[in-house]
Symmetry: C2
Subunit: 218 residues, 2 copies
């Protein structure tokens, strides 16, 4: 199954950076932690960072019912959800060919407010599993009041595009021949540090495996 | 100088996470590498990742003159530029209080196309200094053709908001008392790896100090 080739999800340039398979979309979405949710508020664009999670071809985002932006999005308006992973700084022999290695996914759709209690709980589980795998079932469940105070939105993945730049700089042939400058990639990585226990934690409370494993990158 | 308290740049909730000094805005913008540029295209929001640089109270973004989104933005339309730095995953004793530590800046403004050749060159230098400090003056300068093919936009920083979450989870008092669960923060860091020379680089070309220093985090 390929991604949908609507005009706004079709890349008009640097087509070599476009990936049209669905797995590439899943890979980017599953590797990110923060998405940037765009919507139009009073005629102006607003872009907000937020957590998300993916369940098949549905993306879930959530927020407080007290958030004006979320309330607007929950009216079913058009949104754009973008996830970007920076992989490297590309140093070329010319200033003009400097670039970044990255993977990005851009999803267009209408935000559907999730009102069915079962789907809402499912969406929150998907969000939690994405943010903090292993926490669902370990940490205390949401109670009815907490569930009522959170707003969950669903965005379908039908219309999306993926863009990837990887590898060496692409210098002009003359520059490769004539320039004495170094060219290459400085990798950029997102890593987890050592878990830091909360100051109010009872002494001796162990770091659970789902957190310690992640700290060690496993 | 504080940030402008217009309605759309005033946080309506979790005000404790808002920072209203200009230095906090500069700090977030200067620490990020990728921004998410939002604009309205045919009535729908579009959010695109791109590089940027800051010169005082002006943010510069750039792109190809062949990019439809950039062409639209260059018409002086309203844009929203958001920079987000993820600092940690916040594990609380309840699923509901799980969160992220982050710093984010949201800038609202109209994109001004930079047409003056001096400012355009200045904007590109600012962008290069941000993406790859030390490359301007080391790598080959832009030639006239390259300069003509790039589009530079300026966005003022007059209307912006900064949001920061840091530190321990904020659990409900009952959970702190009664839950046996671990609570704390898993730090998230963005680090540079070892520079990887381009396959077409002449053998023996040294990695310049402005790249090797960065790889070592200095």
């Amino acid at each position: 199954m390929t991604l949908s080739p609507t005009p706004r999800s079709t890349l008009t340039r640097k087509r070599d950076r476009a990936r049209d398979d669905r797995q590439a979309l899943y890979d980017v979405l599953d590797a990110g932690l923060v998405c940037h949710l765009g919507l139009v508020l009073n005629g102006s664009p607003v872009v907000l960072p937020t957590g998300y999670g993916r369940d098949g071809d549905t993306l879930y985002v959530h927020g407080s019912t007290g958030s004006g932006n979320l309330r607007e999005a929950a009216r079913g308006v058009a949104v754009c959800v973008t996830v970007t992973l920076l992989d490297g700084i590309v140093y070329s022999r010319s200033v003009n060919d400097h670039s970044m290695n990255y993977r990005s996914a851009v999803v267009h759709g209408n935000a559907r407010p999730v009102t069915d209690p079962d789907e809402k709980l499912r969406g929150l589980r998907v969000l939690t599993d994405h943010l903090a795998p292993g926490s669902w079932g370990y940490a205390r469940d949401l109670n009815a009041k907490e569930l009522a105070a959170v707003s969950v939105l669903a965005v379908g993945l039908a219309e999306a595009s993926v863009k990837v730049r990887a590898g060496d700089p692409t210098d002009e042939p003359e520059d490769v021949l004539n320039s004495p400058a170094w060219a290459g990639v400085l990798p950029v990585r997102t890593v987890f540090g050592e878990p830091e226990s909360s100051a109010d934690l009872a002494v001796g409370t162990p770091v659970p495996p789902h957190v310690s494993r992640r700290a060690r990158g496993r």
